[in-house]
């Protein structure tokens, strides 16, 4: 039986798998980060969907978790992109296949 909640969960699962696709099959470091951001957004969507259609609780926990998750995702994106720039300065490449040494 498909209810609205099921449709939302399917959408967020599809978004998660699209992010997984971007993170696994792209070779540019920035796109892997984009994929990770998409996965985080899909998880947030799950939280909000369950807050809306789940059992009523005194506090809107789903919404609070989503807000904190957005803030943390932004921080992680900033640090990840800074690392991509720093790596580019050393190795002159952003293709993750070519970044296979630990030597600086």
């Amino acid at each position: 039986m498909t209810s609205t909640l099921s449709i939302l969960l399917v959408v967020s699962a599809a978004l998660f798998c699209t992010g997984l696709l971007a993170a696994l099959s792209r070779r540019h470091a920035i796109f892997i980060l984009i994929g990770i951001e998409m996965m985080l957004a899909a998880a947030n969507l799950n939280f909000i969907a369950f807050w809306r259609f789940g059992p009523q609780s005194a506090q809107p926990i789903g919404v609070m978790v989503a807000i904190f998750a957005i803030a943390i995702a932004a921080a992680e994106a900033a640090v990840g992109l800074a690392m991509v720039i720093a790596v580019y300065r050393h190795y002159r490449t952003t293709n993750v296949d070519e970044l296979d040494q630990l030597k600086g």
């Binding site: 209810s3 959408v11 978004l15 798998c17 696709l21 971007a22 984009i34 957004a41 909000i48 921080a75």
Partner: protein
């Protein structure tokens, strides 16, 4: 809640997300990433969490997308295309999707259809942030400061 609006929005967001994951040209993919997040924010509006939707547009489209395009600019190589596409990633993604779909349709208790009683106001969220969630708020503040300082140190020019 309107099912038609939900479906249209879902198609739009997933199309933008797929474009972001598969377009070869970097800039186009980065810009469709921004569009996909606007779609997700529209989902939040439809579900009644307006504050989260606004924060999503503000943080993701206004900040993270700008960071991504700046980084693409600063790490330019001659050809602006992403070389190489790993097809095994597609298989893994499809497998995970099938697994998740099976899990969603197997669970019995997902037919809850009751709408919310009172709308969630920004005042309520602010009250909660300052009373029950004040320690997570402070921790996120410290985390953001650490991320700011860390990102700056990572990209600062080294003194020779």
């Amino acid at each position: 809640m309107n099912i038609v609006a939900l479906i249209i929005l879902a198609i739009f967001t997933l199309a933008a997300a797929l474009a972001a994951a598969t377009l070869p040209k970097l800039m186009h993919a980065a810009l469709s990433f921004a569009v996909a997040f606007v779609g997700v924010a529209a989902f939040y509006f439809l579900l009644g969490a307006e504050f989260v939707g606004l924060v999503q547009v503000f943080v993701y489209v206004g900040a993270v997308a700008v960071l991504v395009v700046f980084t693409i600019l600063l790490t330019r190589t001659d050809a602006q295309k992403d070389r190489g596409f790993n097809w095994s990633g597609v298989l893994v993604a499809i497998a995970v999707f099938v697994g998740l779909l099976w899990a969603i349709f197997k669970t019995q208790s997902l037919a809850i259809n009751l709408p919310k009683a009172e709308p969630l106001t920004v005042a309520r969220i602010g009250e909660l942030l300052m009373t029950s969630y004040v320690w997570p708020l402070q921790c996120v503040g410290v985390l953001l400061t650490a991320a700011l300082i860390g990102a700056l140190i990572l990209v600062m020019e080294e003194k020779r």
